[in-house]
Subunit: 149 residues, 2 copies
DNA sequence: TTCTAAGTTTAGAATTAGTCTCTCTTGCAT
DNA sequence: ATGCAAGAGAGACTAATTCTAAACTTAGAA
């Protein structure tokens, strides 16, 4: 994608296409790698005389909010511990951030055998969404805690 | 799970069952929640006169290495940016940590409609493994970069 | 018992990822 | 020219995690 296309993309969404924003957008929209903010900052530093980390984060967040980018937490430092080491899937509640288990047998994934050149050691479906009926759930939770039936 | 069971689990793997380890293991093996290390530390602090954060991290890592626990990076602070905002799946190379795209149509997930009480906003299959034929791949990559056929 | 080596825990320093705050600059509109 | 308002920058701050080095505990051996 060339500079001009990027500028139009930004203009379309009312984002002022500053030199920094164009350079950063071009870097991350023009690759199929999945760079960390730090990596984007390093590359951006090559083409721009000066960029601060804060600008890189601000721009990446801005582009994400505008749907041009997506942010994945799949590796990286912070994590959560799972007392069930068996294979199972997960539901991430986008409101609370809570992780809930989905039993392995509840979902089926097909097509894995067609992935080229890879030895699979495991997989998991990550479903994102919000719980419906939070009221019912809260009541159920309270009952459990209080030992009520 | 009671204290004694936990102690046996640890002994089985040659892990010396210190008071701290037993308390921490009991906390995290006895819940279907997915606590952060900080949350485990807070709970552990209630039942033990003194525990340091380092012990909690050491123990959680030890239990994870021994397959009693699993560690997920699904929410939390650190992330990676994806220039393709469309729905697709991901392959995580366990050797390099690299994330690679799997096209949406390459995999199919069934059973989602049966998830109770939840409104799904999106989902993704996360496959973990190692690439086979890294040599071939490197050649393929170079060819692509150089515009060779 | 007492000693000792190995294993474990600790507080705090260091590191890494990310956000926040405040200041400085720049591109216009008056 | 003057004055905003939006944007960008530096650096302080926070949070998650690991590292370090010293202190403590334990299981055996003597
Ligand atoms: Mn921001
Ligand atoms: Mn460790
Ligand atoms: Zn789980
Ligand atoms: Zn992707």
């Amino acid at each position: 994608m060339d500079r001009q296309e990027i500028i139009e993309l930004l203009n379309l969404r009312g984002i002022q296409p500053s030199a920094q924003r164009v350079a950063i957008a071009q870097l991350v929209l023009g690759t199929d790698e999945h760079p960390t903010a730090e990596q984007v900052w390093q590359k951006a530093s090559e083409s721009l005389p000066v960029v601060s980390r804060a600008t890189v984060y601000n721009t990446l967040n801005l582009l994400t909010e505008n749907g041009l980018l997506r942010r994945h937490a799949l590796k990286g430092v912070s994590s959560v511990f799972d007392g069930n080491p068996e294979a199972h899937h997960h539901f991430v509640d986008e409101e609370t951030g809570e992780l809930r288990d989905i039993p392995w047998d509840a979902l089926e994934v097909s097509g894995l055998e067609t992935l080229p050149d890879s030895e699979i050691t495991g997989y998991m479906v990550v479903v994102r969404g919000r719980r419906r009926n939070p009221t019912t759930d809260k009541i159920a939770q309270r009952s459990r805690k209080e030992g009520a039936t």
